[in-house]
Symmetry: C2
Subunit: 240 residues, 2 copies
């Protein structure tokens, strides 16, 4: 087009990072439904098919988008004995990140398998609990109960492919988890999980549900018996 300038106007080359960031920005501005391969390509001044050199398909684009969002969660501090305060702060940190991108939780819920970033977050939460002395079992159930508070997913969407049955593959998967997500592995094992499928599959979902339900109901009853009111709460209760 314009060949006059000695230096040719050439846009910076597409990168996976630029694609992902623009997709996030587009979703933030115009909503998740506005994120189509075509619209995103337009925004980047490129033809739709160019995107496929950087993301495998749309599903992978969504994966990358939540990866980008999750990266905004501040890194965890050193876990200490005051696990309750630490856990509270960490959940609120995660919430803040997701709140900046209202579309994110909806995407998160549809992810089949937990991504590394998700495992990282679970890992840090579990470490907080374990460092506070909470048993592996209780930590496991607490994580499930907190699940929807952390990201908004309730159900194990499960079925992340058939679990590898060859012992070698299983061992490799476990070794990989032990290296990076030991607390998640421990938690998974503590419930008789298939370790390679991470938290979720193999759990007694009904148990986890009832556990969380009773936690909430018992807590409500406790507040009720203590005469909780929104104006001054009650020393030991939530809602402070």
């Amino acid at each position: 087009m314009n060949a006059s300038e000695g230096v040719r106007e050439r846009r910076p080359p597409l990168t996976r990072a630029r694609v992902l960031e623009d997709a996030v920005a587009l979703a933030d501005r115009d909503g998740l439904d506005a994120v189509s391969m075509r619209a995103l390509a337009d925004r980047l001044g490129v033809v739709p098919m160019a995107l496929y050199k950087h993301v495998r398909d749309k599903e992978a684009l969504l994966d990358g988008m939540i990866e980008t969002v999750l990266a905004e969660i501040p890194p965890p501090g050193e876990p200490g004995p005051d696990w309750k305060t630490a856990a509270r702060a960490r959940v609120l940190d995660a919430r803040r990140a997701l709140q900046r991108h209202p579309w994110a939780w909806r995407v998160l819920e549809t992810r089949a398998a937990p991504s590394p970033a998700m495992l990282d977050h679970m890992e840090s939460m579990l470490r907080i609990l374990r460092a506070g002395g909470v048993s592996a079992h209780l930590a496991h159930h607490a994580m499930h109960a907190l699940g929807s508070r952390i990201w908004g997913f309730t159900q194990e969407v499960g079925a992340s492919g058939p679990p590898p049955t060859e012992p070698a593959a299983v061992e490799a998967a476990m070794a990989a988890m032990a290296a990076r997500w030991p607390a998640v592995l421990e938690s998974a094992m503590s419930a008789g999980h298939d370790p390679d499928s991470a938290v979720g599959a193999g759990c007694d979902d009904d148990f986890e549900f009832a556990f969380a339900l009773d936690l909430l109901l018992d807590g409500t009853e406790r507040l009720h018996l203590l005469g909780w009111t929104p104006w001054h709460g009650v020393s030991a209760g939530p809602g402070r």
Copy 2:
């Protein structure tokens, strides 16, 4: 085509109910993504556009589908003083219905405004709590905390249109609610809600979140201090 038979082979006329039921069955069998207007029409032996005589558009079809699913929840019993047991049973009833249709919670989450069926369910839950003597405020927050346990949605998707500002419209909406969902109305009012937008909009979402979070955290701490284990639990704790 075949005019030989005296009685002509004519399929029963389409009805809204048949459309909805077939859509649910299709989603159950082949997954939510398999429910397209075209596929559904095929299944009903009809041309796609015929469906539009019975549902306004696809969004309305999805509304109708969850309406159908919610209708499977058994009707509530008489609320009595043992609210905790009753609430537990009712939540589990709802869960059972949603569990039969794994796609349902995902649709539920994307509904903008609460449907009558949803309001009915909330109403019955709130009545259980109130009949047990729980204050309107506490009942309100408990409902929010239980939200994801009841159907799996966490966030108020909000924005169900601009609230009518004319006093006449507001009064009409309130009157309608007072007639059918008095407990929901009371709960909404108890938090300074815009009553016509039902539970949700106008709430301090951060407060509700923190309330539920602390309920779970405090409950976990309590179990931890009591030495809870999965094998025999602890008298007063969940997970029985």
